[in-house]
């Protein structure tokens, strides 16, 4: 069945979106603005991993079709993205005396700076990680599922990171402080939480996850300076669908948007099969529900959610 194949692809793509959307949502709730540089933070992570991987090489053995060196590169990607975000917070956002709209506009400038620097350094062309492309796992092929070991590695790593974040938020001191701050920053500060420090950790975690997402996106597709910016709106759609500020909502939203994105061919099959009357409506739907409009569908869902249920599917639930 083709359905299983689409679902499997959706799962892989969802993992990347989830990694991006968690960070965006965390920053949205704790730093209190829509960070338009988040997509480009992913790109920064991806290119940092590319450079690191080129420098350290494979380092011998391999897990899930990925050499050890790739995991070093992944760690480097996470670290560089986090450092870039913290530096930006310290140098740009923190000294700014402005409201959340001013920060939003500034973050667009930051996004362009990241992308401009990367593009000057690496050119605008597509590149790939220097890992061997794998064939789809043979035992799954009869079910119509075409995933490689790399895809499995992406999903597994994403699950590890997400579970780690869950443990951090629920069971550590920092997690409790972050949740308190997301809930009510003023109250958090008067109860003695060092909000600046928590904010910095938020940037580290959010940008680190984005960096990981960027590395996986590069592994899943290719690397290009525009890759993060192109994904940014899809990630926003996921965050809004999940409910801004809710990390678990962002996970759910990321999962749903990723799935919907990859299931679009299936939807177009369904639309074709359904007897829709009148004929012009069917024709219009057939042309609009197609792979070219996979992102557009996510954006439209985003606007509808904003209108109908601005708190997202997770509702008012706390972080």
């Amino acid at each position: 069945m083709a359905v299983l194949g689409y679902l499997a692809n959706g799962l892989v793509f969802s993992s990347i979106i989830v990694l991006g959307s968690i960070g965006l949502s965390l920053v949205y709730s704790i730093a209190d603005f829509a960070n338009f540089a988040h997509g480009d933070t992913m790109t920064v992570g991806a290119y940092a991993a590319l450079v690191t991987f080129g420098a350290v090489g494979g380092l011998g053995g391999a897990v899930l079709g990925l050499p050890y060196g790739f995991f070093v590169a992944l760690a480097a990607g996470i670290a560089v993205a986090a450092v870039a975000a913290v530096a930006t917070e310290k140098l740009v956002y923190e000294p700014l005396d402005t409201d959340s709209i001013g920060l939003l506009i500034t973050s667009i400038g930051i996004a362009f700076v990241y992308r401009g620097v990367l593009q000057i350094g690496f050119g605008a062309d597509f590149t790939r990680f220097d890992v061997q492309a794998l064939r789809p796992i043979a035992s799954l092929l009869p079910y119509g599922v075409r995933v490689t070991l790399h895809d499995v590695a992406i999903v597994a790593s994403a699950v590890v990171l997400v579970v780690g974040l869950h443990l951090l938020l629920q069971y550590t001191d920092l997690g409790r402080k972050m949740r308190a701050m997301a809930d009510n920053p003023e109250l958090a500060r008067v109860s003695g939480i060092r909000t600046k420090r928590v904010k910095l950790w938020t940037w580290v975690i959010g940008a680190g996850l984005a960096g990981a997402g960027g590395v996986f996106l590069g592994l899943f597709n290719q690397l290009a300076p525009r890759m993060g910016f192109n994904l940014l709106l899809v990630i926003f759609a996921a965050v809004i669908l999940g409910g801004i500020g809710s990390v678990y909502g962002a996970m759910a939203g990321g999962f749903l948007i990723g799935m919907i994105n990859q299931l679009t061919p299936l939807f177009s099959d369904v639309v074709e099969a359904l007897p829709i009357w009148p004929g012009w409506l069917e024709a219009a739907l057939e042309s609009l529900v197609s792979i070219e409009y996979a992102n557009a569908i996510a954006f439209v869902i985003m606007v509808v959610v904003l209108l109908v249920r601005p708190n997202g599917i997770a509702g008012e639930a706390a972080t």
Binding site: F112, L118, Q119, I120, L233, F236, Y293, F299, L306, L307
Partner: protein, 393 residues
Amino acid sequence: MSPLGDPRGAPSGLTRSEELVLGVSAAFLLFLLVAMLTGALGPTYFLFLVGLAGMYALLSLGLNAQWGFTGLINFSVAAFFGIGAYGTALMTASGSPIAGGLSPLAGLAVALVAAFALALLIGIPTLRLRADYLAIASLGLAEVVRLIALNERWLTNGSAGVRGIPGFFRGWPVLSTFPDAMPGLRIEVIPGSPVILETAFWQASLNVLLVLAFAGVAYAVLRRAHRSPWGRVLRTIRSDEDLARALGKHTYSFKMQSFVLGSLIMALAGVFYAHLNLYVGPGDLDPITTFYAWVAVILGGSGSNRGALFGGVVIVAIREGTRFLNDVALPIDPAPLRLLLIGVVIVAVMRYRPQGVLPPQRELIWPRAVGGSGTPETPDSGVRERKGGGGDE
């Protein structure tokens, strides 16, 4: 934002930033004139730049009507620019997949109607949203418009774009033949490097005339609107929407009016661009156009129409300056350098001068209300002189 807040804002003299802008503009104009006379800058290309500056100024004026007046964070500038360009291109171009061959005036009308419809389509759902949601939603909807332009081949010719767009003055009584009728001129200021004015030059000067007309009308309308009671309501909404509502204003309807007004001006910029570039493709709907307009407005000063004009000129300086730099000095690809510069300008303005270079101070008051003469308009004439200077050559 208070019009009387700045003590230097006395109506008799110029503020320091106004003097600065005037000085920079004059120096820039002088530089361009020298470059042109020595033959380093072709006069036709110079006029093309002036046209482009006018186009960005129009875009910025449109955005200013939305963000500067009412505080609407519209990130779908590129969509309105694109629908203006596509609207006229599809009506007039020989390569149009649907109509084609119509008069550019019909194209202008269709473009404006299409932009009006799109403004309602985007505005009705999004203008009720909180400011930051409006930003995200409008950027998303602009992407939807771009994807439609890219994929609906029967309508827009897809990624190939629309070719064969005529000049705006085709079919007009005198102006359509004006460039061919004008004699070629040869001006030799510096011996050995003559400046030659030919058909292309006259064509370009017609384009400049067109954009000056568009920008002049838009500027006059906006300036009048900004000072009117209507404009005052918009400014109230911008600073405190709840207050405006408490005063009994139907804020949603005011926001919609300012959104539509701005969108129509952006579409005008698109119409001009189509007849300047003679080609329109889906790449013209790239979000970067939106952010060019944003940079121009923020840099010029949100809410300031003169600032928007100034911002338009700066954008062209960045766009063409990077290309020039690449040709002459540093072999850096101009596209990423442009991105970097745009980013740095946004961050620097937000950090060091969030009110912009030419914040709206006396622009908001009727000159006679403070008993002064017409001096507040001096910087405008600075910009106009610069533009007019090219046309007089």
